[in-house]
């Protein structure tokens, strides 16, 4: 690639990020500190911190992030250690299934949880049937412990990220390190804590960071649980009267600052030593064959975690099929009517088409940008290319809610980017919003492809008469196609499931993406939740296939996609 083209890509990406990453954040920050007459003030923050409602929201958000992270690690760490030590029957398929919850939209799953744990839910019915509960005074599980329910839902959704990161770290760990410890008499649990865990800490931390940021700012699940005492929901509610109301802006800034602080604190505690540079594995990790009984235990554990994680979504499937499910263990009557209705409902047909349109355009944009950025970073010696790599990864570290809010703020009437809203159609800003947030996955997978593909393969083509661009197209792109497809599939799935941008930016019914349509249906009366479930099941089936495909194409390298 010629130097001028590389510089063009660099400059283009930098401008894109300045406009659609830095500017929305900056705009939000500005609104939070500047009064209507243009003076700088801290009054909004003072007010905010005096308001017990907002304070409680922040504390709850922190709990939501912290406990989700801890729980996700508790689930993922043993699984990753087992998966990277033992070989057992059915491991490949169990391994792929373990990752499925990642693409099951958690706020759809929350519907299922409501069905299980609600006052007239399955658990209470079960307890009443057993005579352990008084039927006239059923316990309100979600009323008392809604935060617990949210944490559980989030952790069951996000543990695959921790699992992938830890697995990738273990795969990079030179087995000789552990063998040396064993040779010196340190083994078992002792070796795990003295050698293995310290060495994989950076990978563990990378996964934990993403989970924390994700859960700390999660909007969809608390919304479905009708829990408005978290900051994310308070911001969402605040959007309804944004003009002249500075508090949503201030809340977004507080959330952003808190995220950055937690990230830095974590990095300072766990991420200081970068062991990754201490050389790659000299020998491959050899998996030990588990005994038949041991293998059964391992497989059982994997299957159990997956089963628990998809239980809420099984609830959703049942809900979507049920004619009547109230106060009974299982639906009393089944019907396919909701699926038909869901496809016939004006909201749903539009929303499926919209989501497909937004997500595929965003994915296309990501693939173009991703290939360009990865090429510049891996294949050129352009000064500052590491910086380009770093900014392309930044969207992982900034909460989606913050960005979504920034986009909304900067495209409001009279604001500089109002022109991006074509009439009422938010397609441009939604595509950009989807693309920015998913760009890291595509950049990472493309960069991994470029790194694995020897540059001499391109040089050989040039030597035989191909121009650099042609060599890239004829040789390298076909070779890294698997990486690109996997990254694109992942970007596409996450775009289809996007909550913050979708709920905040799509304002007209005919422009709703799937997620907002589901949200709208849930809040509507009658068979709304059933219709929402049916729509959710359509989405889930679709996305499960997508992620299974990505998992097969990328294998263990998937962990590299979730690193900051």
């Amino acid at each position: 690639m010629s130097r001028s083209l590389a510089i063009t890509i660099y400059a283009g990406t930098a401008i894109f990020f300045a406009l659609f990453f830095a500017f929305p954040i900056w705009h939000t920050v500005e609104e939070a500190f500047v009064t209507a007459d243009g003076t700088i003030t801290l009054a909004y923050f003072a007010e905010l911190f005096r308001n017990p409602l907002y304070l409680e929201g922040l504390v709850n958000s922190f709990f939501m992030g912290f406990f989700t992270t801890v729980l996700a690690l508790v689930i993922a760490l043993p699984l990753a250690l087992i998966g990277n030590t033992w070989q057992f029957r059915g491991k490949e398929i169990l391994h792929a299934l373990l990752l499925v919850p990642l693409v099951l939209p958690p706020f759809v799953g929350a519907l299922g949880v409501r069905q299980f744990l609600g006052q007239a839910g399955v658990l209470n019915t079960f307890l009443i049937d057993l005579g352990l509960m008084d039927a006239s005074a059923p316990f309100d599980w979600l009323g008392e412990g809604r935060l617990v329910g949210i944490v559980l839902m989030n952790a069951l959704h996000l543990y695959p990220i921790a699992y992938l990161n830890i697995s990738a770290a273990l795969a990079n760990l030179d087995p000789a390190m552990e063998e040396a410890a064993g040779n010196l008499g340190c083994h078992g649990i002792r070796r795990l804590f003295r050698i293995t865990l310290p060495l994989i800490m950076p990978g563990l931390f990378a996964g934990a960071t993403i989970i924390f940021i994700w859960a700390f700012t999660e909007l969809g699940v608390p919304l479905i649980f009708d829990f408005d005492r978290v900051t994310s929901v308070q911001i969402f509610e605040g959007i309804k009267d944004l003009s002249g109301n500075p508090f949503p802006y201030a809340l977004v800034v507080v959330m952003l600052v808190a995220t950055v602080l937690f990230y830095l604190a974590g990095k300072w505690c766990f991420g200081r030593d970068n062991f990754a540079s201490s050389g790659r594995a000299s020998t491959g990790r050899v998996l030990r064959s588990a005994s038949p009984f041991g293998g059964l235990c391992c497989a059982g554990l994997f299957a159990l975690v997956t089963a628990v994680a998809i239980l809420p979504h099984i609830g959703v499937v049942l809900l979507s099929l049920s004619r009547d499910w109230y106060g009974t263990l299982l639906p009393t009557a089944l019907t396919g009517q909701h699926y038909e209705d869901a496809l016939g409902h004006p909201l749903t047909i539009h929303s499926i088409a919209n989501s497909l349109k937004y997500a595929s355009l965003a994915t296309g944009l990501d693939v173009l940008l991703g290939i360009g950025i990865a090429y510049v970073v891996v294949r050129t010696r352009l000064p500052g290319r590491q910086f380009l790599d770093a900014i392309a990864m930044l969207p992982l570290a900034v909460p989606g809610l913050v960005l979504a809010f920034g986009y909304l703020a900067m495209t409001r009437e009279g604001k500089p980017f109002d022109f991006l809203i074509l009439g009422e159609d938010p397609i441009l800003i939604l595509v950009i919003a989807y693309a920015v947030r998913r760009l890291p996955y595509v950049v990472r997978s493309a960069a991994a492809g470029f790194q694995q593909t020897s540059v001499s393969l391109e040089e050989a083509a040039q030597n035989l008469g191909s121009t650099p661009m042609r060599a890239l197209r004829k040789i390298t792109l076909p070779l890294i196609a698997a990486n690109l497809i996997a990254g694109a599939l992942l970007a596409f799935s996450f775009a289809m499931l996007e909550v913050s941008d979708s709920l905040i930016l799509a304002e007209q019914q005919q422009h709703y993406p799937i997620t907002k349509a589901i949200y709208a249906l849930i809040s509507s009366l009658g068979t709304g939740p059933n219709l929402a479930s049916a729509l959710g099941v359509w989405a889930m089936a679709f996305l499960t296939v997508t992620l299974l495909g990505a998992g097969i194409l990328l294998g263990r390298k998937m962990g590299a996609l979730f690193r900051v």
Binding site: L457, A460, Q462, P468
Partner: protein, 358 residues
């Protein structure tokens, strides 16, 4: 078939100077070897000729054409990469056909020329194979066919045999040389294996720290090295420091710590004078062991190591005056001396001792 003329070529990577004002002329049809330790700049030079590195200064000419700034895809060189760089997503035929497709050669001619090239490297009939189904030696042949099929102006080979086992390596040496000579190709061949260079080259250059330290035929470099670096890099040698005592005609007497030695060989462009500090280079196979003191050039000591290798026996002789033992190699030995008590005398003919600048 082109001549390659390189003048004052400079290539820097950051602070590292990989090529330091390097000059080199390679004649048309010559099989030319670049030999040197790793980091000496030989691969950088080859890649500069291919256009894969843009030099910071200096020029490269193919015949009269200045190709210094020409991008790689317009240089018409055929390169064989150390890793072979065969494309795993294309089969053998498509790999070889690639360069012709890029040149928009008609389909029927591509088929004919690819088949011809595959036959030449004895890979006919294997065109449909995938690259990963080939052995190392077969991959190497495909890479060679791919580089040759475009009828390049010159062939560039970057350690093409380093991934093969020793038996196959010997076989392929002869094969590559045969093909180069059959086509009268100008070929530049990078290696760090001196046996490969000595056995195949028309001429060769030894590189060190981005400069060429000596150019010549294999016999020149082995028999008449101009520096201690060349003599110890091309083959094995014993280096002994000394001072010129007397000169008469082309007979030199040199005073060394192990006694006076007489020598007849010196670099052709240099005439040492009495009092000059010099280094003597004596190849192990030029030395022979004796129990009785020989008439001249005797170096005396006790054997500290004896190694029997079949075609040779190698001895280490420790002299009292010298730290480093003297290495002696006896061809076609019918016994091995393992006597560490007796004082032995090693000797070499004056015409086998090379005088080098200190």
């Amino acid at each position: 078939m082109v001549t390659i003329r390189i003048s004052s070529l400079v290539k820097r990577f950051g602070d590292v100077v990989a090529l330091d004002h390097l000059d080199l002329d390679i004649a048309a049809g010559e099989l030319f070897f670049l030999l040197g330790p790793s980091g000496s700049g030989k691969t950088t030079l080859l890649r500069a000729i291919a256009g894969l590195h843009l030099p910071d200064a200096g020029t490269i000419h193919f015949d009269e054409d200045d190709v210094t700034r020409l991008p790689p895809h317009r240089r018409e060189t055929g390169m064989m990469f150390q890793s072979y760089a065969l494309w795993p997503h294309l089969n053998v035929f498509r790999n070889v056909a690639f360069g012709l497709e890029e040149r928009r050669v008609p389909k029927t001619e591509i088929r004919r020329r690819v088949d011809e090239a595959l036959a030449m490297v004895k890979m006919d009939g294997l065109g449909a194979r995938r690259v990963h189904e080939l052995s190392g030696g077969q991959q190497q042949r495909v890479a060679l066919a791919r580089a040759l099929v475009i009828r390049p102006r010159c062939l560039l080979l970057d350690e093409p045999l380093s991934n093969l086992d020793s038996k196959l390596r010997v076989e392929m040496r002869a094969e590559i040389r045969r093909i180069c000579k059959e086509f009268g190709l100008t070929a530049v061949y990078v290696t760090h294996d001196q046996k490969e260079a000595l056995s195949m080259a028309d001429r060769m250059a030894v590189l060190d720290a981005g400069k060429i330290v000596q150019t010549g035929t294999p016999v020149d470099l082995y028999r008449r090295p101009r520096s201690a670096f060349v003599s110890s890099f091309v083959g094995e040698t014993n280096l002994i420091e000394g001072t010129i005592a007397t000169v008469s005609g082309d007979e030199y007497s040199i005073h060394t710590e192990t006694g006076d030695l007489s020598a007849r060989l010196a670099a052709p462009d240099w005439k040492p004078a009495p009092g000059d500090l010099v280094i003597l280079s004596i190849r192990p196979e030029c030395l022979s062991l004796h129990v009785d003191p020989p008439a001249e050039n005797a170096i005396t000591g006790r054997l500290i190591e004896s190694v029997y290798l079949g075609e040779t026996a190698q001895y280490s002789l420790k002299c009292e005056e010298r730290e480093t033992p003297l290495h002696i190699s006896e061809l076609n030995p019918h016994r091995v001396i393992r006597d560490t008590e007796t004082r032995f005398h090693a000797t070499a003919k004056p015409e086998d001792i090379v005088i080098l600048k200190s």
